[in-house]
Point group: C2
């Protein structure tokens, strides 16, 4: 039975929106159906998320950008996170993840679902762990049943995709903590699960209970985002055995999910030196049957805290060219603090730049059209037309300030090369 036969929620969503999707993505309905059937595309959208904007992830559909927002124990303002949701949308994010770990998580999630049409993702483990941490207990003591209950609840609330670290095996946890890594485990969910397994001397409950998760996800068309609990947290650790142990398992799980009617994306690194990004992406895509790949950066250097959106955009561009489908933003706040509104905006734009650079490299028509459009506008010194094609149009007037009505920019003024050439009085060139 194909996924579109097994998953009635997905089938209904697709049937309803196929024309819109084909037009928006500049691909045929047949390409979309085939992509979903073979697991190389997913259609994000939980019917319980009222008025959700169904969103395709998987090349040749356009590369998508996700913004992570949410409260933290040290910076906990729900109003602030709701404003970040708006900022992310305005900056052009395609999806949002609520990574809140402080406050009334249920209320925050419901509010976000009601405030945005963008697909919303979560990490259900955080809600369970928060209850333990707030009670001053170790989350590694958690009862796995609580996890399944939390996932069922969030699916019912309308969450569109969930990060679950199902591929993190005991073997992987041991490999990641045998002393060969500089930074061990840096995924919050991965760290909790690894400790749970090693303490209880049991396999990962999200792995042993994967069929239960499939059942929940199929019924609600919640898309799996199979988390990379062992993603490298330093360039030094990239591409090691622990990382690939998890990738191997993720490939098997993606196949099982697809066969049983649940949609599935794969999460990827992480801290990866520039020269490894292409080989990592191609290897991960191959090992996970070309399921949509969703990466965090990749962050090409460790040494620029305050600027991880830039080091991440470098990795993101090459990752997209190598096959990545979905970029999770990094903001300038990464590794330092919770992002501000400005950080959210900067993070989304940096990821969109990476996506555009990668899609231009791939020769995607929509990306090339944007490039040609702005270049023609530049030749004409037509600032309104530039705004039509710029990734962040309001930035143009903002930066030109008092000189925004001049024909040339304030860098060159009458030295403008474009203008000098155009106005050559000899008319020769």
């Amino acid at each position: 039975m194909s996924i579109l036969e097994a998953n009635t929620a997905l089938r209904s969503l697709l049937d309803q929106h196929i024309s819109m999707l084909a037009e928006k993505e500049h691909i045929s309905a047949e390409t979309i159906r085939a992509g979903i059937e073979n697991g190389t595309m997913v259609l994000l959208g939980n019917p319980s998320h009222g008025n959700v904007l169904p969103t395709l992830v998987g090349q040749p559909a356009g590369v998508k950008v996700n913004a992570n927002i949410g409260t933290s124990p040290l910076k906990n303002s729900v109003a602030c996170e709701m404003r970040k949701l708006q900022v992310a949308e305005q900056a052009g994010a395609d999806t949002v993840m609520d990574l809140s770990i402080a406050g009334d998580l249920d209320a925050i999630r419901r509010e976000m679902l009601s405030q945005t049409r963008l697909p919303l993702g979560t990490v259900p483990m955080y809600s369970v762990a928060q209850r333990y941490l707030d009670a001053d207990r170790d989350p590694a003591e958690m009862d796995p049943e609580e996890l399944f209950e939390e996932i069922e609840k969030q699916a019912g609330q309308g969450v569109d995709f969930i990060t679950v670290h199902c591929g993190l095996t005991r073997r992987g946890a041991e490999l990641a903590t045998d002393g060969s890594r500089l930074l061990g485990i840096v995924s919050r969910g991965g760290s909790i699960l690894a400790r749970w397994m090693l303490r209880n001397n049991k396999e990962n409950p999200l792995l042993t209970g994967f069929d239960r998760l499939i059942d929940i996800c199929r019924r609600h068309n919640v898309t799996f985002s199979l988390g990379d609990g062992l993603r490298p947290g330093a360039g030094h650790d990239a591409g090691d055995a622990a990382q690939y142990e998890e990738v191997m398992v993720l490939g098997q799980l993606a196949k099982r999910a697809l066969a049983a009617g649940a949609q599935c994306m794969i999460e990827g690194p992480g801290h990866v030196p520039f020269n490894q990004v292409r080989s990592q992406i191609q290897t991960i895509k191959r090992m996970t049957n070309n399921a949509p790949l969703y990466v965090l950066g990749p962050l090409t250097i460790d040494s620029c805290p305050g600027y991880d959106h830039i080091a991440g955009a470098i990795g993101g561009a090459i990752a997209v060219e190598a096959g990545v489908d979905f970029l999770c933003y990094l903001t300038p706040a990464e590794h330092l603090t919770l992002p501000t509104m400005d950080d959210v905006h900067a993070g989304v734009v940096a990821s969109r730049i990476a996506a555009q650079a990668g899609e231009v490299a791939l020769g995607r028509a929509a990306a090339l059209e944007r490039e040609e459009g702005i270049s023609r506008a530049r030749k004409d010194l037509d600032w309104d037309a530039m705004k039509k094609y710029a990734l962040d149009a309001p930035k143009i007037d903002e930066r030109r300030g008092e000189h925004k009505d001049e024909e040339e920019c304030a860098m060159c003024g009458k030295f403008c090369a474009v203008k000098m050439l155009r106005e050559d009085p000899m008319g020769k060139i």
Copy 2:
């Protein structure tokens, strides 16, 4: 006669500083001498620039970063440009170019030379063109003798490297303006020279008079930065015949300069789609005898005005891995306005990130040491050690703000994966 025999100013500078250079660059004195002899390295430093810090450009010496500053007709404040000089130095620029095109250019240049030990570059054509523009005359009417006089004067003042568009031929100008390009000629110097040639029906005077330039540059150890007057101004134009016509000529000129005792770098693009960056860099390096290559970006997309430092960092990283030796920054102001102090800082840091990403990919020891250092510090949650290795150390406290004395960062707080794993009470991992 080798360049070190022919160029006494260079020989004396090298003899005086060879130990410092070898130590700073982590390469042997022999490697440096051989690199300079065969033209794959240059040592920037004009003896007339008092107390100049002699700076090696050419891998395997560290990749260098240049910051462009200078007045413009619409934003003309000398005090402001002098502060930018300081900001550029503090942010870690290795060289500065004074691209002033408004005000008393001689006074500005002399002031910059007296205020900085960093090698200073200029585009002498601007001074000549400014006189014509200020008199409401077309700079394409200029007398070439004025150019040679200006270059001689600036060499005597202590300028360390000069951009001269000697490789721009009439054939190149015709190719660039035959209608096949979207954006024709976007180099200010290139645009003026092209119009001069087509109007006067003569070859480029900087090409026909190249031996006179060699003589000036050898006497003062001014390093040629052979400008790319036909660099593409849009991704659409990258890699075309006009661009490579100029590169071919630059390769011949570099050989002539080296043989006659003058040091030489090659300037490169410019707007280049991501997928062309590697092939362009490798082709240009080959055609110019592996002379040090100095690129502007490369800017991988045209469509992110306000964020060109990011699109440039993407191109810069891959360019460095492909062999580029010297990155000219792009700031967030590029294509829009003259950079502010913040823009100068952001531009230098973005280029340093690109250089670091590229050098990590190349396995350079100094770059890897920085990565490992900050990653170890992160594992220990040792914020002081992180500052030691961060590309922009002050940014860390600035962003952590009120939480800067906490052990964890304010993104995760007690959810810190590193801390949870380290403090595992079971002591198993």
